[in-house]
């Protein structure tokens, strides 16, 4: 963790809140992370498979630089970080003060089960007579009134659903730990009552997520809740889950049969009169679910998705759709079913559908999945009132375009400000934390705690292991002390065995600390059940014993394995426990930003506002990039003003240096410490040291030769129209008909991806032209209108204002024929089922976006490009702006097509990533880090090739392999490929592993 920065409050502990909390904690802020639920994880605790990987990967969000600050375990279980105080069942109730100096009031729900005493033994649930629908499985299965809210969560504290509890008292009687204290019988007070806490924070991040539309409240319910086999998309996710109602087997809820035909109905509760926006993610969710079903069933279940527009608008999504259709056989049909009925004869479902041509195309299915639209989270309204953050007409937080100068210290993160997939949520959360960090950094240190020195422990590294064993004697379990003692007696390294009473409870834990304090052991092995519960408590033992946490380990005696082998394995592991004493290299507190467009400038400002230096290297003579020619966005926001403001801030910021006409030439080093040379003005070579790099090299409108472009002045591109409208050289008043053609050279075999912003641009131009000349005929020829999120509102407005939208297919593309009175566009109209000829004054081509060539630049920094030559992210969902090695970031169009607002968010996220890295000041090398024994090394370089993080390099001068302990993540690939056992991973040494194996048998 970096220099102490003050405290931040993050509201909501879903993935967005986790991302923001980690961002701020890694940069040295104390973070209070609260969630109204009794568990963390939000919506994602219920979702296991994410597109486009069909898997998970959430753990990739964990810190890379100072790994030991954070519990190294599956993030779905929970987040444990030294700098983050987690408060569950807690809500924000009040906020006073000003940015940098807020006083917040937090309210924690009363506890009926004392979390300090509950060990998750499940006895209460066994005796509870009240059966309730399990909220974790959306009511598809049952649980007891006293239950574990999320089966995989740590800590696994039970909760009681007081709406259903009959206060019979069975659980209270049976609890062996006295953790349950029911109200009633005159005992009106709860043991742990509702509590209010006030605290000072510098900034607040609101990551309160989303909710789902409830079809039973709508005009068309599609039989939801009446027909058992009509399920929502979330319910299907639970059905597919191993912790789901049918334990992962795909069954119909009505009779448990495996369905043979499944249908998805898209846009249920989205894109309608009540909620005119698009929920952005449901198309991909439906595709993913259908692919999962096809994979699981070996292709035996037929899957049909009924959609309006299949919105696969992010970089890899169109490819995913193609795979879904071509490889997995998912069937896509463009239609909007109007109702679902029960079929008495078959017991199945009938879908009533009217096809394009107006003919009924009803079909029978066994199961129907409703793709439910998203709604603002339950708490958004209250939070808006408390914090004064405005809401848009649909009830989401307003997210101002610039976020600069808004004089607030409260920021919306993730989907609380609009509908986003995981990748976008993560980007927008990091963007929010970057803005929060600016406020906190500006206010500087409202907490005056000093960082405790981490390396001040007694030096035991050269001592012979002297192991103290702590044994948690569970009153529920057998007496294991004699057995452990006899094992200890046979191990020369064990010098003390202490049996403690229930260290899983607060009292037991404190008792253990007291007993350990001042003891001379130099290794501690704690035998307990569910040791993950204690990992965050290593620090406490370490403090009590003045012992580096590296020498403290836990062994799980609750898994039912033979005690002897567990204890012996634990002893073999702890005996070799050590910390590599090579120090992590120091971080260079400077960030290089390549590219001075909107993305680069925003990133540099964000870095500089966090107290670090940013250096912009721009190859053009001036800053601005694509923003120079852009006029307005679809909401009317003036880009000229944004450009001027941003350029001015960059020029006036003391933390930013700008080099124009400059090109990067070479770079050496790795994450935390790069040395890069660049040429200014063609000959002047400069060299700088920096800890991280942000590639903001942008992109450009694609060139085309399609549809007669270049042969006629009446055929223009979106960019040319934007420029002409801005300059006033084009007057829509002089024209009668304009035809816009979408997806030119895009979403086809030669360029697979969707450029995402062209539909919005065309809508913007169409509306602008209609505004100037209401009589103008505007035809938009499209394949799929990608007006995702709130931009759907403009699609609707355009239709209302008389813009005609004609769908075309790749097989029947429009043709542009030059005529004497301007070009004639021939297109097949699918609803009329005939070919139309439109004589037009202007044809506008949406040609899409290409990235600037960054392959060689990325390669200089050991990063790469994807199939489309955009920057290759480490993970499009969980690490969406960083390269695998953790020192290189990208933003804006270099990452993939995105609009200005999204570019700015990605720029702040990239800056946040860079600041996370350079502000981390590891006191030592993380415990599980690779090393090398030079005496055994034959320089075969196999280890270098095996390292995905680029942490191993050959130092040609010394003739030695070098390891960058910051880049190394401790995966052990290098040690496994080394033929000489020269490469090793600390705490997973060969000798140690072999002894553990021996101990196991």
């Amino acid at each position: 963790m970096g220099e102490k920065q003050g405290r931040a409050l993050v509201v909501g502990a879903g993935i967005s809140g986790i991302r923001s909390a980690l961002d701020l904690a890694e940069t040295g802020c104390d973070v209070t992370l609260i969630d109204a639920a009794p568990h963390m994880g939000g919506v994602l605790s219920k979702l296991e498979y994410q597109f486009p990987s069909d898997g998970c990967g959430m753990c990739r969000m964990l810190p890379m630089a100072d790994r030991d600050t954070c519990l190294q375990a599956c993030l779905r279980k929970g987040l444990v970080h030294g700098g983050i105080d987690l408060m569950l069942s807690t809500s924000l109730k009040g906020l006073e003060g000003e940015p940098g100096k807020y006083r917040v009031t937090l309210e924690t729900e009363p506890c009926i089960i004392d979390p300090n005493l509950c060990t998750g033994c499940n006895r209460c649930s066994e005796v509870c007579p009240v059966t309730i629908p399990d909220p974790f499985n959306q009511g598809l299965s049952t649980t007891k009134a006293v239950h574990l809210p999320v089966p995989h969560a740590i800590p696994n504290i039970y909760t009681i659903d007081m709406d259903h509890c009959t206060l019979c008292g069975e659980c209270e009687t049976v609890c062996p730990f006295g953790a349950i204290y029911l109200p009633g019988d005159g005992r009106l007070e709860l043991k742990i009552p509702r509590t209010l806490v006030e605290m000072d924070v510098g900034a607040v991040v609101l990551a309160c997520g989303i909710d789902y539309y409830d079809p039973t409240t709508g005009i068309n319910t599609f039989g939801y809740k009446e027909l058992k086999d009509v399920v929502s998309n979330i319910e299907l996710e639970r059905i597919l889950s191993g912790t789901g109602p049918f334990k992962g087997s795909l069954e119909r809820p009505s009779d448990g049969r495996v369905p043979s035909r499944m249908a998805w109905i898209q846009c249920v509760g989205s894109r309608d009169l009540e909620f005119p926006a698009c929920s952005s993610v449901c198309c991909m969710i439906a595709l993913k679910e259908a692919v999962l079903v096809r994979k699981r069933s070996g292709g035996t279940i037929e899957t049909v998705i009924y959609y309006m527009d299949m919105r696969c608008f992010s970089k890899e999504f169109e490819a995913y759709r193609r795979r879904a259709e071509n490889k997995y056989g998912v069937i896509l049909k463009r239609a909007r079913p109007h109702s679902v009925r029960h079929d008495r004869n078959t017991g199945g479902l009938w879908l009533y559908i009217t096809g394009d041509s107006g003919v009924r195309e009803d079909e029978a299915f066994d199961m129907v999945v409703l793709s439910l639209g998203q709604r603002p989270g339950k708490s958004v309204k209250d939070l808006a009132k408390i914090t004064g953050i405005g809401l848009n007409p649909l009830g989401f937080f307003e997210a101002p375009l610039s976020g600069v100068g808004d004089n607030t210290g409260v920021f919306a993160a993730g989907s609380a400000s609009g509908l986003k997939d995981i990748g976008e949520s993560v980007i927008h959360s990091s963007s929010a934390s970057a803005m929060a960090l600016k406020v906190i950094h500006g206010a500087k240190k409202i907490t005056d705690e000093e960082t405790e020195p981490l390396n001040g422990f007694r030096d035991v590294s050269t001592q012979v292991p002297d192991i103290g064993v702590v044994l948690c004697q569970c009153p529920n379990g057998p007496d294991i002390e004699p057995q452990v003692k006899s094992i200890g007696a046979n191990d020369v390294h064990v010098s003390g065995i202490m049996a403690m009473d229930r260290i899983c409870t607060r009292e037991g834990w404190d008792g253990m600390l007291e007993a350990l304090a001042g003891k001379p052991f130099n290794r501690i092995l704690v035998l307990a059940c569910s040791p993950q519960l204690f990992l965050d408590k290593k620090a406490a033992i370490s403090k009590a014993m003045d012992l580096d946490p590296a020498y403290i380990d836990f062994a799980d005696i609750g898994k039912g394995e033979p005690l002897a082998s567990t204890v012996k394995m634990g002893l073999a592991r702890i005996r070799y426990a050590d910390r590599l004493n090579s120090m992590a290299s120091t971080m260079v507190p400077k960030v290089l930003v390549v590219g001075g467009g909107l993305g680069g400038m925003t990133a540099a400002l964000s870095v500089a506002d966090s107290g670090f230096e940013a250096v912009i290297v721009e190859k053009e003579p001036r800053l601005g990039g694509n923003l120079v020619w852009l006029d307005k966005d679809i909401t009317g926001y003036d880009f000229g003003r944004l450009l001027d403001n941003t350029c001015q801030q960059v020029e006036n910021h003391p933390g930013i240096r700008v080099f124009t006409n400059a090109v990067v030439e070479d770079s050496r080093g790795g994450p935390g410490n790069y040395t890069t040379t660049f040429k200014v003005g063609g000959n002047d070579s400069k060299r700088i040291g920096h800890g991280a790099v942000i590639l903001a090299t942008g992109g450009r409108e694609a060139e085309t030769t399609a549809y007669g472009y270049g042969t006629s002045d009446a055929v223009k591109t979106n960019l040319e129209v934007e420029q002409a409208l801005k300059a006033g050289t084009m007057d829509p008043g002089d024209m009668n008909v304009v035809v816009m053609i979408q997806c030119v050279d895009s979403r086809c075999d030669t360029r697979e991806y969707c450029s995402r912003i062209c539909c919005k641009s065309s809508l913007k131009h169409a509306l602008e032209m209609k505004r100037i000349n209401p009589d103008l005929g505007v035809y938009v020829l499209y394949r799929e209108m990608m007006s995702y999120g709130f931009s759907e509102i403009y699609f609707k407005e355009a239709r209302e204002r008389g813009v005609i939208f004609i769908r075309y297919s790749l097989e029947q593309k429009p043709q542009v024929i030059s005529g004497t009175d301007g070009p004639v566009v021939k297109v097949h109209e699918p609803i009329l089922n005939r070919t139309m000829e439109i004589r037009s004054d202007l044809v506008v081509l949406a040609t899409g976006i290409l990235p600037s060539a960054i392959q060689s630049l990325a390669a200089l920094f050991d990063a790469g490009v994807d199939d489309y030559s955009f920057f290759k992210e480490a993970d499009s969902k969980w690490r969406p702006v960083d390269a695998v090695n953790g020192g290189v970031f990208a933003c804006g169009l270099a990452l993939g097509p995105r609009d200005t607002k999204e570019s700015m968010a990605s720029a702040r996220a990239a800056a946040m990533g860079a600041v996370r890295l350079i502000s981390s000041r590891p006191a030592g090398v993380s415990l599980v880090t690779a090393g090398i024994k030079h005496s055994l090394c034959i320089l075969c370089e196999r280890c270098i090739g095996s390292c995905v993080y680029g942490a191993r390099t050959l130092d040609p001068d010394a003739g030695k392999i070098r390891i960058d302990p910051v880049a190394c993540q401790g995966c052990g690939s290098c040690a496994a490929v080394c033929t000489n056992s020269a490469a090793f991973v600390n705490n997973y040494l060969d000798q140690q592993m072999l002894e553990i194996i021996d101990a196991a048998i």
Binding site: C59, P151, H152, G558, M569, I997
Partner: protein
């Protein structure tokens, strides 16, 4: 022979299968006590010599289990494990070890039930195979 209780060494990755094993514990999915979990950061760090050592020390079977393809915390460690297990299947015969005794599975963090199932099935199959007898006495 009826009383034969095989010993299975399971190298499980810290991120996915270990989580699943833990989930099996917390959701009270009983699995036979024949398995000894050895938690490794990644299946990609399971050196073939660990597997051979396990057999030579007397294990009746070895399970290597990690994240599903694409889910590896370290990007591609599980693919490395897959290649190594394939190679090991090729050479285990020379140690007198039936290749059936080395398994590779992908068990995700939420698949507690799947983990219990895999262990049940493996114990049953190894019981049927009988104890492993290595005809080579190597010292590693």
């Amino acid at each position: 022979m009826d009383n034969f209780e095989p010993t299975i060494i399971a190298f499980v990755c810290n991120w996915c299968t270990y989580t699943a094993a833990d989930l099996a514990g917390t959701s009270r999915q009983k699995y036979p006590p024949n398995v000894r979990l050895i938690r490794v950061m990644c299946t990609g760090m399971v050196d073939p010599k660990y597997v051979v050592k396990a057999f030579l020390s007397g294990a009746d079977a070895v399970l290597v289990s990690g994240c599903h393809p694409g889910d590896c915390h370290y990007i591609n460690g599980n693919y490395k494990a897959r290649r190594r297990v394939r190679l090991l299947h090729g050479i285990l015969g020379r140690f007198g070890i039936d290749r059936e005794r080395l398994r590779l599975t992908w068990i995700g963090a939420s698949d507690g039930i799947e983990f219990a199932k895999v262990i049940h099935a493996m114990v049953a199959e190894i019981k049927a195979l009988g104890p492993a007898v290595s005809d080579m006495k190597l010292v590693i």
